[in-house]
């Protein structure tokens, strides 16, 4: 089967970020998406702590210790960017002002439930940050994650086992095997990478997958 690298997964999401979009990229793999958005598109990145227009990492001698992203990495501000306080930043999220959020996930359900803030581990103390606000607020929530966990367990399930971040919030799932839309009819495959077949991907998925709409029907 064809499995995309993390870099290629980020590159694939980047193709779907349109010119002019206001976008929030989650910590981890989603942050890489910014590296692959084509240069002819202007995209404005939001950071939950209070930035619109997040730019790349600064030169070591140009670091501003206050200018960090949600992952606490040093960043810069692009011309036209601005700062605001946390309450206004989350108003942008909940108020539906962000076009797209890209988040990682532990699990996604057939109805678009997202689980990405806690596992069932009792040893780690909990932390939630801005994940729940982003989940309910962004106009389109894309999940970027590997199709299966390290132990090969499916991460796309009929129902999430881990505690939910938001119910019915995910619009599209980008994995290393396929792109899958969450629709009213269920999970519909939008794109299969390489020669991957629906049957192969279905076998690695814990929820029913519907075939791509554009797939030629057998006459």
């Amino acid at each position: 089967m064809m499995r995309l690298s993390n870099e290629d997964m980020a590159r694939r999401v980047a193709q779907d970020i349109p010119d002019g979009a206001y976008v929030n990229l989650g910590i981890g793999m989603p942050t890489q998406v910014a590296n692959f958005v084509s240069a002819d598109r202007q995209v404005i990145y939001h950071s939950e702590n209070g930035i619109l227009g997040v730019g790349p990492a600064p030169e070591p001698d140009k670091i501003d210790p206050d200018l960090i992203n949600a992952g606490k990495q040093y960043v810069t501000l692009i011309p036209g960017g601005c700062y605001f306080d946390n309450s206004e930043s989350f108003a942008m999220m909940r108020g539906g002002h962000l076009d797209i959020a890209v988040l990682g996930a532990f699990q996604v359900s057939a109805t678009g439930d997202l689980a990405n803030w806690a596992t069932l581990s009792q040893t780690l103390p909990p932390a939630v940050g801005g994940a729940m606000d982003l989940a309910v607020g962004a106009r389109q929530l894309f999940v970027l994650m590997r199709h299966n966990a390290k132990d090969n367990a499916p991460k796309i399930l009929e129902k999430c086992v881990y505690p939910l971040t938001g119910a019915g919030v995910v619009k599209r799932i980008y994995t290393d095997l396929a792109v899958i839309d969450v629709t009213d009819e269920g999970l519909r495959v939008r794109e299969l990478y390489g020669d991957n077949t629906l049957e192969e991907v279905q076998a690695l998925t814990g929820a029913k997958l519907l075939p791509p709409l554009q797939e030629p029907s057998a006459h």
Binding site: D64, N86, G129, V136
Partner: protein
Amino acid sequence: MINKVCDSLKSAVADVHDGAVVMIGGFGNSGIPLQLIEALRQHGARDLTIISNNSGVREEGIASLLRDGLVRKIVCSFPRSAGSVWFERLYEKGELELELVPQGTLSERIRAAGAGLGGVYTPTAYGTLLAEGKDTRIIDGKGYVLETALHADFAFIKALTADTWGNLIYNTAGRNFNPVMASAARITVAEVASIVEAGGLNPEHVVTPGIFVNRVVAQEEQQHDAA
């Protein structure tokens, strides 16, 4: 004559009592009033409730308050991060109470307190563990959770420049929770890099109006061997 300038960090925190509820601005190490926190640690008030986005890493900031056993409870959105050893240690031993609040709900509960509201209905956390036991309501077909206002006795915040009336401007993303916390405490103390006379800030640039600020204190020169 209005002059909110405090002559020392020590005097700026001198009336923090045992059992006080203290908001501390900042997001990670951005816009965090590290010198006020150190003054609070030396002041030694105990049994504190700390409201802040994070819980400090290594021996720095809020982590030093935890290490010294001054904190009973923390209200926080993301207490666990790389290096938050004191939070993890005390939490695992059951010596620290945690109220986990989604980040936007944290700032909105604080804003509600500052704006005189009893609380807000937010869609955040609806249908999740963090909404359990809370009032919920369907408004126009969408689910919301009632989150109550979060007040404090003190807010310790960090800004770039204050004037003598307590008007504040900030540095880049360092404003984060600071403006909203300023509005929600009985006593708000701002640690700043510099202080100018009233009239010295462009009124169009003021982010936090001085009505929300009781004391301003200039950062003191310090050796760079914190903790």
